[in-house]
């Protein structure tokens, strides 16, 4: 425990329905890592009993809302937390029942790892493909496929290998670099936290070992310097009379004191005088640090501007192609106008064209279908009221992501990945 100052944070997302054993798996991870508390356990035990269930229903741990408990469904993304001596883990648990795509996309947007569950008896099914496609679209850096319920296929290696082959050959058309397979039984505990004694043929790691050790150090972009200015700090005190600091969170790359930088959209150049924090000056700042930057020259900079390196600039365009996931009951309006939020910028846009709708099960592109409804994924072209400073989403999740807001209801109606 003395080593908590060296722990890393890993965010992972799980997707699937109750039948896949997802709740059992999460329950197992939490229980075996001693993250379920006695009073929590007593509370869900009592609830299960009241509901007439035989076993303690671990899904009740994540289903917190009254409506969820009444209907036995999960409405929303639930966040669970646990830690091991090496890592703190955040699970975004997304249900497969309703509004699945919307919830999965939400959970996936910040994840380092996507965990996909396959029932060993059923193999790769439509839902598995849908989860993997979303993980690929949202560019989750690591995918771990757990082939679950191995106890129900007598822990046979052939069954595991066949599913692994099926998934690998289908998954080759996806944009996923790091894929990992683990045969498990969440119910019996095989290869979840403890290594299974019933699958000698499997030489790999357990799920928890994988989550504790998967390399996430390169998940942030450390190449392309991007600093979206969030807030200007001007203390107006005697001590800091001329202090003018640009506060924000590094969106990519490594900034150093003395670096030549350029400010967008003005194009003015300057040099980094100081990278400041409450704890003192730092020599370097990298994603995802929150810092305050001071420049040598007095130039007019405000929220929404971006500080970059002169020789490595993002796109600055008003015509942008975006892959969107639609979240709202009101369908996407061709020629419709929306407010868009991108890094620290806000603008408006018009939807110029719907290029195609993506079939989430087969990856088929339907060029004719312009009817984009809730949970649909489509590629569209927009024109914005001012240039946005963007990178392709696959290069940088921060400068490549965008959200769409309905101008009359203020609801978030879509998430977009810039192509």
């Amino acid at each position: 425990m003395s080593d908590y100052q060296n722990m890393e944070l890993l965010r992972f997302t799980t997707a699937g329905s109750v039948d896949d054993g997802k709740s059992t798996l999460i329950g197992r991870l939490l229980y075996d890592s001693k993250s379920i508390f006695e009073d929590q356990y007593a509370a869900i035990e009592a609830s299960s009993l009241r509901r007439g269930e035989e076993d303690v229903n671990l899904a009740l741990l994540t289903d917190g809302l009254k409506a969820e408990r009444e209907q036995g469904i999960t409405i929303d993304v639930a966040y669970r937390y646990f830690s091991t001596p090496k890592r703190k883990l955040i699970i975004a648990d997304t249900p497969g029942h309703i509004q699945y795509t919307r919830n999965m996309v939400t959970g996936a947007s910040t994840a380092n790892v996507a965990l996909i569950l396959i029932d060993a008896r059923n193999g790769v099914v439509e839902q598995t493909k849908r989860h993997a496609i979303i993980a690929s679209l949202l560019q989750i850096p690591h995918l771990v496929v757990c082939i679950n319920k191995m106890d129900l296929v007598d822990y046979r290696e052939e069954d595991y290998e066949k599913i692994k082959d099926d998934f690998t050959s289908w998954g080759s058309k996806l944009d996923i670099n790091d894929m990992h397979f683990i045969p498990i039984s969440a119910l019996k505990g095989d290869n979840v936290v403890d290594k299974s004694e019933r699958m000698d043929w499997y030489g790999g790691s357990t799920l928890l070992y994988y989550l504790e050790n998967v390399h996430i150090g390169s998940d942030h972009n450390l190449i392309d310097c991007r600093f979206p200015v969030q807030y200007v700090i001007r203390p107006n005190t005697d001590e800091y009379h001329d202090y003018r600091g640009y506060a924000g969170r590094i969106g990519g790359g490594v900034f150093k004191k003395g670096d030549k930088v350029m400010v967008m959209p003005s194009g003015f150049t300057s040099t980094i005088k100081k990278i400041d924090t409450f704890d003192g000056e730092v020599a370097e700042a990298f994603a995802p640090m929150s810092v305050t930057m001071l420049l040598e020259d007095e130039i007019d900079i405000s929220r929404g501007d971006m500080i970059v390196r002169e020789n490595n600039v993002p796109d600055s365009e008003q015509d942008i192609d975006v892959m969107v996931c639609w979240f709202n009951e009101k369908p996407l309006q061709l020629k419709g106008k929306y407010t868009i939020l991108h890094t620290t910028q806000e603008a408006r846009c018009i939807v110029k064209e719907i290029r195609y709708k993506l079939d989430i099960n087969s990856l088929h592109r339907d060029l004719e279908d312009n009817d984009i409804k809730m949970n649909d994924i489509a590629r569209i072209s927009i024109r914005t009221t001012k240039p946005l400073f963007t990178d392709a989403y696959r290069k940088n999740r921060i400068t490549g992501s965008i959200i769409f807001v309905d101008e009359s209801t203020n609801e978030t109606v879509a998430a977009g990945m810039i192509i």
Binding site: S47, K66, Y243, A247, I398, I403, T412
Partner: protein, 300 residues
């Protein structure tokens, strides 16, 4: 150089980002301050977010009149040190004016009355965003909260109809009269908070550290013996060595028997404990969904 943040620094950076977003996107934000460790952490993070400038919004404390004296003393010193404005919404005043009615009996608590006073204070101050130190790991209804949580003109939360929240892009759009609750430390756990407070050496009220106090037992919970709780004849007062894991009203905050008198010992205790921190909060035990019910009405 290793370009990597440890988990506490990454959480810190995320929270600072959220706090700065609030200052940038809203006209009139306020920070809800209860005097507990989470709101102390919030003020500390806000101080970091705007350094070397002052925190650009006031603190709002809903004072039930049943706070521990140590809480009020600590609050006043903190406010002075930070140089921020403190606004106090008084439950006692609301009772005196007949706006709310006090509960009676052995389990009387002013917890429920806080909501009305909070909503009125937010309305009077015309605050469009109220920052709070709620965490998702605290309670199952809070696990479903957004960072930016939309409230209608009555201050109500509609958990079934929340806006999806992706990446770190926060939608702060609202109609006139509506407001937001913002929870920058959503992703912190109790242990993270303690580890961070220890790492940063943040000053805390003595209530959190083991000390001797006159206490009594009720329904398996240790309560401080004070004038504001009516005791049953059989409830015997004894001196115990206790500390508080959460600090709310004296009427509903249970103490735990503990010898942890340093931050290191508290971290060890929290890491090995098998009961959640709100396990001693009688306000949560009134029903299975008491937190959700209170939140829907505007509790934070």
């Amino acid at each position: 150089m290793n370009y990597h943040l440890n988990h506490l620094k990454e959480l810190e950076s995320e929270s600072i980002f959220v706090i700065r977003e609030v200052a940038a996107k809203f006209e009139n934000p306020v920070l809800m301050f209860s005097g507990g460790k989470d709101s102390i952490l919030m003020t500390y993070l806000a101080q970091k977010a705007f350094y070397p400038a002052r925190i650009p919004f006031p603190l709002l404390h809903i004072d039930t009149g049943h706070n521990f004296p140590e809480t009020i003393e600590f609050r006043d010193k903190l406010v002075e040190r930070l140089g921020v404005k403190l606004i106090v919404g008084s439950v006692q005043e609301a009772i005196d004016n007949g706006k709310v009615t006090e509960e009676k009996g052995y389990n009387a608590s002013r917890n429920g009355l806080q909501t009305a006073v909070l909503l009125e204070s937010l309305e009077t101050g015309k605050y469009d965003a109220a920052l709070g130190g709620a965490r998702r790991d605290e309670e199952k209804a809070r696990a479903k909260e957004r960072f930016f949580s939309h409230r209608d003109e009555f201050g109500q939360w509609d958990p079934k109809n929340q806006r999806p929240e992706l990446w770190n892009i926060f939608n702060s759009k609202k109609q006139f009269g509506e407001h937001f609750r913002v929870f920058p430390i959503s992703n912190w756990t109790e242990l993270d908070v303690w580890q961070y407070l220890a790492m940063e050496k943040v000053p805390l009220p003595n209530l959190y550290f083991a000390h001797k106090r006159q206490c009594f037992m009720r329904d398996g919970i240790v309560l401080a013996a004070t004038d504001v709780i009516q005791r049953r004849p059989e409830e015997e007062v004894k001196e115990m060595t206790v500390r508080f894991r959460t600090i709310g009203d004296m009427t509903c905050t249970g103490a735990s028997l503990s010898k942890a008198d340093t931050l290191q010992k508290i971290i060890e205790e929290v890491a090995s404990t098998r009961i959640t921190e709100r396990g001693g909060r009688s306000d949560d035990k009134r029903s299975e969904t008491s937190m959700e019910d209170r939140k829907k009405q505007g509790y934070f």
